[in-house]
Amino acid sequence: MPCCGPATRSRSCPPSAVAERQADLRIRLWNGTFDPLANLAAWQEELPGESSPAAAEAHFIGRVRNTTAAGEPLEALELEHYPGMTELQIKRLAAACARRHGLAAVRVDHRVGRIAPGEAIVLVAVRADRRGPAQRALMELLEAIKGEAPFWKREWSAGRGRWVGNTPLAGG
């Protein structure tokens, strides 16, 4: 169960001393390729710098594997979403996570549509005042997105598509 759900509070998620600060939330879905490092650099440029007490950042970039869950060569990963709700739900999850950890800023970029192996599928970046909240928030927001944001994956291999379930954390 992700910690960043709307009505949950885990013992591993202590509220930060700056929990009341309004976080800067930037959520974007991409129908085509995006460059996660360029987006990350742009995000860092745009955020307030020296005036902010937030000195810790944690980032995650996920890319599409080149094999299916069954180990066959992957042609493409198709990612269906629910337009309108998916963006809103990621924003809700990010806002809940930001409140819980006192984050200063969150950025989530997520691909939709047909994605080739090696292409970025998700970028999650968080900024906090300490490394602990930043790292915990990053992991929990990722898990929340995987399980609570309406996306559906279909693997394409040898011209055939197969819907897949969520992957456990240990399996990535």
Binding site: M85, I145, W163
Partner: protein, 91 residues
């Protein structure tokens, strides 16, 4: 001055959406469904699931109404958008 013709009465209805493997198994993705005027019993996502003969697909993993997750027995109102969602696999 002659009165303009009355617009046709709008039947109270909801929009039903299917996604992913649910959409493919059912063979459709969007339907407009009239609500029972009497409201007795009240319309719920669970009742719509039966009314649309979707029981053969099992149970939807989650239901959303107007972009919010709701329990399957939430009462629906005219104009609601009801989405039946298969297991989520994002990120």
């Amino acid at each position: 001055m002659p009165r303009p013709p009355k617009p046709p009465l709008m039947q109270p209805s909801v929009t039903v959406l299917l996604f992913g493997q649910l959409r493919e198994a059912a063979g459709w993705e969007r339907r407009e469904l009239a609500l029972n005027d009497a409201g007795d019993p009240p319309a719920t996502p669970a009742a719509l699931w039966r009314q649309l003969h979707l029981e053969g697909l099992g149970s939807p993993w989650r239901v959303a109404v107007n972009h919010h997750f709701v329990p399957p027995h939430a009462v629906l109102r005219p104009g609601d958008e009801v989405a039946f969602l298969p297991p989520i696999s994002g990120g």
